[in-house]
């Protein structure tokens, strides 16, 4: 008589246990996909792909684009200064040294400025890639599918190849100094005419033009 079966809710309990077991298995699989997907994204955005040479190449490309422009303008400014000083008869004078110093300092500072800009643009590229990695991570969590996330990451890697730096041509950098050199020459000419008693124009107009 003892130990015999009685009516119970075992069918429902077994079903609930089955559901709980399925949830546990599903969650384990989801976590596996998350870990796999995270690893895939980390691999894609690792130093093996986005390493220092990758960024150095970007930096150097900016420098190679902008430095020659600066060098061209500097050479033109040097030539103009040479001609202006020569016409003024002050090529071998202390005044020439002063103008050369100004021109040289401006050139050096512009080189540094271009380098700094290239470095900051490279920093922006690094930040962009970090953001892309974060986006890939977010999509991984949304989809929980490491394959889709990896494809997204790979797509972003492809997109990143077409990112363009700021390569606007340099403006006229040395013009003020070159005009200043011409102004010095004009001033010398005026002095010459004054000494000869043949001043052609008031000095204030020359400063207005050549400032």
């Amino acid at each position: 008589m003892g130990g015999k079966s009685h009516p119970d809710n075992s069918q429902m309990v077994n079903f609930e246990k089955q559901q709980a077991d399925q949830a546990a298995a599903k969650e384990a699989a989801r976590q596996q996909r998350l870990n796999t997907g995270t690893q895939q994204i980390n691999d894609i955005f690792s130093n093996a792909n986005f390493n220092q040479p990758f960024y150095d190449k970007y930096t150097q490309a900016i420098l190679n684009y902008q430095m020659p422009q600066l060098q061209d303008q500097y050479t033109q400014a040097q030539n103009k200064l040479t001609y202006d000083l020569a016409r003024a008869g002050t090529l071998n004078s202390t005044a020439a040294g002063y103008s050369q110093g100004l021109l040289s300092k401006q050139n050096l500072q512009e080189q540094a400025s271009i380098s700094a800009s290239a470095d900051q643009q490279t920093a922006a590229l690094r930040n962009q890639i970090l953001n892309e990695k974060q986006t890939a991570m977010n999509q991984l969590y949304s989809t929980e599918d490491p394959t889709v996330a990896a494809n997204t990451a790979a797509s972003m890697v492809a997109q990143n190849q077409i990112t363009q730096p700021n390569l606007n041509p340099l403006g006229a950098i040395f013009t003020p100094l070159a005009v200043g050199g011409a102004g010095a020459m004009q001033s010398s000419i005026n002095n010459y005419y004054v000494q000869k008693g043949m001043q052609t124009q008031p000095p204030d107009t020359s400063t207005a033009i050549y400032g």
């Binding site: 008589m1 609930e16 040479t82 920093a123």
Partner: protein, 229 residues
Amino acid sequence: MCDPMVGMLISAGASMINYSQQQDVMSQQQAANDAWVAYQQQAQQKELAADEAARQKAEAARQTSLTDVNAAAQKQQQTTEQARLTDFMTPQSIKQQGTGPDQYPGDLLLSGQQYATPEVQQQIAGQLNQAAQDARSRIAALATINSYGGSQFGLQPTVNQAFQTSGQQIALQGDIRQGDLAVLQAARNVQPLHIVATPSPWGGIASSLAGAAGKGFGGGGGASVAASN
């Protein structure tokens, strides 16, 4: 005619059967309850262990980020980056320049100046050296400024990267913890086994027999009384 003792014995037997039946149900229910508690405890322990493991990973990531962004690390990073930027931004013409008081690269001389008097050349060299010195100062200042801000390894991107890396690990572990918690909730939804006690047919038969026996004993007596009257 039934003996009253027979009825009493049958009634006692019926009670024993019912009692045994109740004991059996109670025993089975107790076992079911114990199993349910053990199941819930196991699920709870499993979730707690998984949660703690994930929490420790998240905490390790957080500690790593703190190590990366503490004051000493940031100062060191800024100093290193300042030196790198100073070297990177300084033009080669200055780097190649001699250390003497009047040393300057030949390409800075204008054509025709090589024929100037030594005094003039000395003065030009002085001006160019002063220009280089001024440029060096400004470049160093610019390198210092940028090392705090948006250069490649300046504080801003470095700290951002440290926090982003730790944040991604913390988010991953947080996501895993939420999943584990959902699994625990599914286990908590499992209800205990409820056993329903039903009357035993043997107990019912025994009760019927006891009733019949009692009725027979009582009915026979009445008839004899009526007969005697």
